[in-house]
Amino acid sequence: MIEESRQKFDIRNNLRTELFPHFMCPGCGHGIALRALLWAVHELEISKDQLAIVSGIGCSGRTGAYIDATTIHTTHGRPLAYATGLKLARPDLEVIVITGDGDCLAIGGNHLIHACRRNLNLTCLMLNNETYGMTGGQVSPTTRNERFTTTTPLGNYEPVFDACALASGAGASMVGREITMHVTALKDLIKEGISHQGFTFLEILSDCTEIYGRKNELGESAEMVLSQKAEYRSDSYGNQVEEPFQPRNIGTGVLTKNDRTEYMEACRLHNQSKQSGTANS
């Protein structure tokens, strides 16, 4: 049994290889995130029948279609709503949501905060590439200031959403963040998120090299992947900019984790108390 679980991870066993090569641009970080997810699933020994992937619209939404498991490609911004319904109907399934920054924070922002509030046992991976890549590189809620997109030709001036702070504030019981450069750390974070009982929100900092990176002259794929670490420290820490060498758990890794009652558990306890209440009266 141990030998089985230690079997070498070959990603092709978990992919719909007939669809390959995939549609993503050269150097897109979503592929690395997809590998990390499938690697985590492999190490957790979740069978294909037990795995349900729900994805929205956008580059991130399309990644779900390449996984050889139960996958649902849903409407823009609503994968969390579909996933909530799926999880309530089939609690035995391991439901993982793949969504993007525009999908999750702009169009599906309301669904995100209510999924966090309910704390249903879901895992939400938000692949943050800071732009709407599939529709042509428009500005998204996570586009950094002074970055150029097709809709901000003079640079972006809107404030940037901190997705992790939002999810944490809305009540998600586990919130984490990781960059695609750290594949192994990302895999471990996803493993922890899937194992966690309650809503898990993971922000994965990905790269859009062709549309966003080229417009902003961020270098080629390899440079973008390498610069994640440095850039990430100085910009995404928000108020930590003054002290860029804070311990890593402030910026990446698990940011919030608590054991707030999971939605199904809360529902069961509530029903129990009601039934006992009616029996007594």
Binding site: I11, R12, P26, G27, G29, I32, T180, V183, A222, V225
Partner: protein, 314 residues
């Protein structure tokens, strides 16, 4: 060398017959940082001074704290002018670390010099630059046996193991000092009084015991059948067969999109894009199987296969 068969006392004979007063006696002590090279040389220098000799001692210990090379020249005689020993002029070479000892062998007097070496091996990081799995280190590959046979008047002891048996692992240098003392014409009591002054008060007894065991060991040393030598040779065998551990890089060019991530991030620079801008392995022998390319390939075009070593599999 068969003519050296019954030379239990050969070490003593040489120096005692030399005219100590006319020509300076040269003792070179070498090792790496933290082993006690300086302590040995200071004890020797202080003793010689007490005995009325002119002594000059010079040392280099710059990289000592990083495990770097440390050596100390001790010269004594009626009058000593230069503090350093010329190459090929050392009467006695005491090595606390095996590779350091071999490195300084050219300083030993040809045929006449005495070599006392500890078989302890401290492999420096730079000897491990070949990052392929189970690659042989750049450390000296000659066995203790081979060296002992090549160098006349040589002896090799596992002083660290002896010190550990005595319960004081740090006293390995005092054991070598004991071995050194048999080659020089000084009273045992004089040695001991100087050692007692130089070691921490709590460890005086342990160090004197180590000194005695070093003296006893060198007197009973037999060049042909010695346990330390056997232990030394055993260390050299058992290297992993590299040819069984070649990693195999499977590249699926149909999926490759020429993003260049693998080429630029490979630590060994063994990948490149060909004229069709597809990735290819240009230096298969340099690949260490680190899997950076496999894990960072967004298109899943690279798969690394390493042969299974069941007991070492992660």
């Amino acid at each position: 060398m068969p003519q050296l068969n019954n030379e239990t006392k050969h070490l003593e004979a040489i120096v005692k017959s030399a005219p100590l007063e006319e020509i300076p006696t040269n003792v070179l002590v070498v090792g790496v940082g933290g082993q006690g090279v300086i302590m040995i040389s200071k004890v020797l220098a202080a003793l010689c001074q007490e005995q009325g000799f002119d002594v000059k001692q010079s040392e280099v210990h710059g990289m000592a704290k990083r495990g770097g090379s440390v050596f100390s020249h001790v010269r004594f005689g009626r009058q000593v002018f230069s503090p350093t020993i010329p190459k090929g002029d050392a009467d006695i070479l005491v090595a606390l670390e095996w590779a350091e000892g071999l490195r300084w062998l050219p300083y030993l007097k040809p045929e006449k010099g005495i070599f006392i070496g500890d078989t302890q091996r401290i492999v420096p990081p730079f000897a491990c630059r070949d990052r392929r799995r189970f690659a042989a280190s750049g450390y000296v590959q000659e066995s203790v046996d081979q060296v002992i046979r090549l160098v006349p008047n040589s002896s090799a002891m596992d002083a660290v193991a002896m010190a550990r048996e005595l319960g004081v692992p740090k006293a390995a240098n005092t054991i070598l000092l004991g071995a050194l003392s048999t080659t020089l014409n000084f009273e045992e009591a004089a040695w001991k009084s100087v050692i007692a002054r130089f070691v921490p008060p709590k460890t005086v007894d342990a160090n004197l015991q180590a000194f005695d065991s070093g003296r006893a060991w060198i007197r009973n040393f037999d060049r042909q059948a010695d346990s330390a030598m056997e232990a030394g040779t055993a260390l050299d065998s058992g290297a992993w067969p590299m040819e069984q551990d070649q990693t195999w890089v499977e590249i699926n060019t149909a999926w490759c999109k020429s993003c260049d991530i693998c080429v630029k991030l490979c630590p060994e620079r063994c990948l490149a894009l060909d004229d069709q801008q597809l990735v290819q392995l240009i230096k298969p022998e340099a690949c260490t199987g680190c899997r950076v390319c496999e894990r960072l390939c967004p298109d899943f075009a690279i798969n690394i296969h390493t042969p299974a070593f069941p007991e070492l599999r992660p």
